[in-house]
Symmetry: C2
């Protein structure tokens, strides 16, 4: 049974550098703890993984922010670390803490046991994608996603979050051969995983290279960018005759745009340290840009949020209008929304994006 036709295609058009009457907006981690309705569903589910692995719950929380805000895209509710969990590393989330793996990958013996996981172990994700796509009923497109090979490796080697990346960088600097083995397996796993999400109904896919920016110049290219490229090369470009845009976001990657602009993807995500006008000039005609307001702007009063949104839109400048393709901007935060964000401030942000971006177009 085919899915319902899409009513709001502004996000997908902007991904493909086609004109839209407003700048589409969605927010990284838009279904999350800042929403009381999310916390209520999570309480019912018992745990984060209980939430993510239950198709009904995952569908419910994915749609929650769309009920409140005029967002132009939905993103699958899941975690960037489902793939290493399916590899058998045992993912869990303690309340008030980040993700933890029961097993770490640090030795030759550990690496020898790693393999692309059986995608049946990730069936819950693909089922959620299909369920969400149906529930959306064509309202806005659905974005699938995964962590990048390097970002997954950070968690797999560290066993969780880190503030210095000592374990993963020790391995990288001491045994680059082992690190390359891990990354190759991760890249092939991520590609398989994203292709299965596309088969299940994802209309765009995003690679979150959350920790690429902690690498030294030279090492980023060798240990992160090369494996993002390996993922992209394996992704299906179309589904049922419709192009599936691919988005890549490296937090802290602003210094490497001259190299990232050659990635075989449609959209580059940017964090708030990047000047959008400079990035637009640097990246040129190859990519749409996504980002990049500081999530902490959402702690200011609504009138200041409005001014900061206008500044980000104006920094990108006039987007492409009319037929054909040209520079386009997808509005987003420069990183995930904070759990402490007042929900009504998000209303101010989303409305400001729509209002100011329409004004920007008529001012042309």
């Amino acid at each position: 049974m085919p899915f319902a036709p899409l009513q709001n295609d502004s996000f997908l058009r902007a991904c493909l550098r086609q004109s839209t009457d407003h700048t589409p907006v969605w927010l990284m981690r838009q279904a999350g703890r800042y929403l009381p309705e999310y916390c209520a569903t999570r309480a019912k589910a018992g745990s984060f993984m209980g939430l993510a692995t239950n198709v009904d719950f995952a569908t419910e929380v994915t749609l929650q922010p769309l009920e409140r805000y005029a967002l132009d895209a939905a993103i699958l509710f899941s975690d960037i670390l489902t793939v290493p969990d399916a590899m058998g590393l045992g993912l869990s989330f303690q309340v008030g803490e980040g993700p933890k793996f029961a097993k770490t990958v640090r030795t030759e013996a550990d690496v020898a046991t790693l393999a692309v996981p059986d995608m049946d172990k990730l069936r819950y994700v693909f089922d959620a994608v299909t369920s969400i796509r149906k529930a959306l009923n064509g309202r806005v497109p659905l974005i699938g996603f995964s962590g990048s090979p390097w970002t997954l490796a950070c968690y797999m080697v560290e066993g969780g979050g880190s503030d210095d990346y000592r374990a993963v960088k020790s391995l990288m600097y001491s045994r680059p051969d082992l690190m390359h083995q891990i990354l190759a397996i991760n890249a092939d796993s991520v590609a398989t995983y994203l292709n299965a999400q596309i088969d299940a109904g994802a209309q765009a896919v995003m690679v979150f290279d959350s920790w690429g920016g902690v690498l030294a110049d030279g090492k980023f290219q060798e240990f992160s960018l090369a494996y993002t490229r390996r993922v992209l090369a394996q992704l299906q470009r179309e589904k049922d005759g419709v192009v599936i845009p691919r988005l890549v976001f490296t937090k802290g990657g602003g210094l490497w745009l001259d190299e990232m602009k050659f990635l075989d993807c449609e959209v580059l995500g940017l964090d708030w340290t990047v000047n959008l006008a400079k990035a637009r000039a640097q990246v040129g005609d190859s990519k749409a840009l996504q980002g990049n307001i500081d999530p902490n702007v959402l702690f200011a009063p609504p009138e200041r949020i409005d001014a900061e949104v206008a500044a980000v839109l104006e920094s990108f400048g006039q987007p492409h209008m009319g037929a054909g393709t040209g520079p386009t901007h997808i509005f987003n935060l420069g990183h995930g929304i904070s759990q402490f964000t007042p929900p009504e401030h998000v209303t101010a942000l989303v409305n400001a994006v729509h209002t100011h971006s329409r004004r920007l177009r008529t001012a042309a």
Copy 2:
């Protein structure tokens, strides 16, 4: 009584873009917890502030790394947060945790009570500078330092370290007027403090903008760079007829080198995300560059440390040789050394810098 004449002036020459027969090297946080002799002295002192405020202890730990390694500069043992402590905020360090302030600065009333502190409260720092300078006896030059106005403000508003800078950015986005008031007071305090360090015997001074890189483009220029500039404008340029080089290090500042190159200082510090060849081309003839190896390289075996050091030196390329001035490089880490570093690995790094940088010069 004048201090002893300087025997190794390679660091000061490189700061002034004059030739040296090797690339000088020192390490951020070189007197620190990775050294067992430091831990022994700290145990005697009872606490970090007990160590920093005692002239004899501060002198002893400043010289400890020089006994082990052929470093080309010493840096005052102190903390970047002594200035807000002298403002009355009550600095302390809990074992295994970062710095904490007893009082925070978040409201109009809090800001109203802030002022440039009485420098007598920082007498222990100036006494330590003089004592260390005497104890060095001309071996290598002594660097004084302070946190930048923005970095101090981060800790003053947050009350300690932070992983999201929510409090300080909430204040910045909600009440930029208050933030500017804090930063103006911080800048004038830091300038007074560094000038007093110069009077006490510091032969170069460094501003650590450890958290400038967390700011959004536009906000960095307004809330960090502008106040670093205000500090620099107030610093004495010479002492007893000798130029006092000024170094500025913004961690995560690589995207803003086009603006930082106009700072009125002699040296820009860079973290490991920056490509030294590109930075050299970008900054041009105005500044020496300092940095930028990833401190995590020190967890690799010595032969790999050697190779990584060579790569960083070669990335900068041939430094200026002969008379006059030209491009120079001061080798350093891209951030402070980890407390978990094996001390013998630092020997490998320092020796590699000296050996390879001499080779690089003769290969010309």
